[in-house]
Assembly symmetry: C2
Homo-oligomer: 231 residues x 2
């Protein structure tokens, strides 16, 4: 059965840095499902018309079309119940909180660290779109928003509960990784792929976790093309 | 079977404001278990010697003595498995993250809002102990740490994922309250019992959640004695 994932690409087609697409790529690997990625750019709205959606990730799983990264994780758990990502009942309700934590608390601080690197990473044809949408969201220019030092200081505080969690287990979800790990890891890959700015400190449990995550699933993320491969 | 909970009291014996004791009182009510509280003060270390512990809560459940609020919640789930508080597997791992979130991110901001109110709420004989231990932890005086406006600004950001979670369900743990709700609610009661400082804003989903929590279990928390009853 053919399985395709529409995946954001940057100024080089091999540069894939969407945090939402990384969640899904790791989740598919977690389920042992192979996928072919289809490079997509922000302004390529027409390419997604078939899905009645205007953003990635979009997963085509045989006849099934699923949009939105979190809905894709739900879909994967329902369709391929082995090795749960989100789980059910209280587990699912609590990973939804973790999703909000990543999106509302972690991601904005990471954005401060890499705003201008991200701008450089997107395709030149996409840059106007990227700048306009992000500046409207922040209420200031990308140049004003970009502040790696402030981002790192915020992140240091925001990640305190993650750091504490990782003192008692190798993964956020315990002895092995699951949905919560992939939700945070997606945002970490976003930074890792487009920037050389450090966002963790050696010796921090979060740093050791990130290294472990890079190695999962035959080094899927470790082998990702990054800005370092472009120079 | 006799069941006792050693519970921190303040300058009035009816004033009970420990966030860790409130977690346990709500958890016991959640399980439908009655309990008799034993008022305890910070410097009353001798009274807890039987438990080989120097803080509250301490639960005496018949012959069983259990210390530490989180361990008590675990004990309750094991001994009284109906109506899980923490749950098992992924659910339990994720509520552990939520515990760290409450203790590392929420509680410090709440402390800024009520530091001096807390100081006034503790028993006069306990105030030296309270001041010395807290000032050592913060690295500054209580007066320097006390900053309600800054606390509220921090809290506004820190609670963003909770607010988002409460847009889709009445409780953090979904349609009905469970462990995550009680973990956060304990800290909220701490503020509510000792201070008139607002920590939520009317119209905020967190405010509506707090009101719902106050009403649970026949208004156990709604009927609590607070600083307002002292004037």
């Amino acid at each position: 059965m053919a399985r395709y994932l529409y995946d954001l690409c940057g100024r080089d087609e091999r540069l894939r840095f969407s945090p939402y697409c990384w969640r899904v790529r790791m989740a598919l690997a977690h389920k042992g499902l192979s996928v072919e990625t289809v490079p997509w750019r922000f302004t390529d709205k027409q390419a997604l018309a078939f899905a009645d959606y205007d953003k990635v990730p979009v997963l085509c799983d045989g006849e099934q079309v699923v949009t939105d990264s979190y809905d894709i994780l739900c879909y994967l758990d329902t369709t391929y119940p082995e090795a749960p990502l989100l789980g059910e009942g209280l587990a699912k309700q609590r990973v939804l909180f973790f999703k909000h934590f990543v999106e509302r608390s972690v991601t904005p601080s990471l954005f401060r660290i890499v705003a201008l690197d991200l701008f450089q990473a997107v395709h030149p044809d996409d840059r106007d779109y990227f700048r306009t949408t992000r500046e409207a969201r922040f209420g200031c220019t990308l140049e004003e928003f970009h502040d790696p030092e402030r981002g790192r200081a915020e992140l240091q505080k925001v990640l305190a509960p993650v750091r504490e969690q990782l003192r008692s287990a190798p993964f956020i979800d315990g002895d092995s990784p699951a949905g919560a790990d992939y939700l945070l890891f997606g945002s970490a890959m976003w930074v890792h792929c487009v920037s050389r700015e450090p966002w963790t400190t050696p010796g921090d449990p979060v740093d050791a976790w990130f290294e472990r995550m890079l190695d999962l699933h035959d080094g899927l993320a470790r082998n990702a093309f990054t800005i370092r491969d472009l120079d």
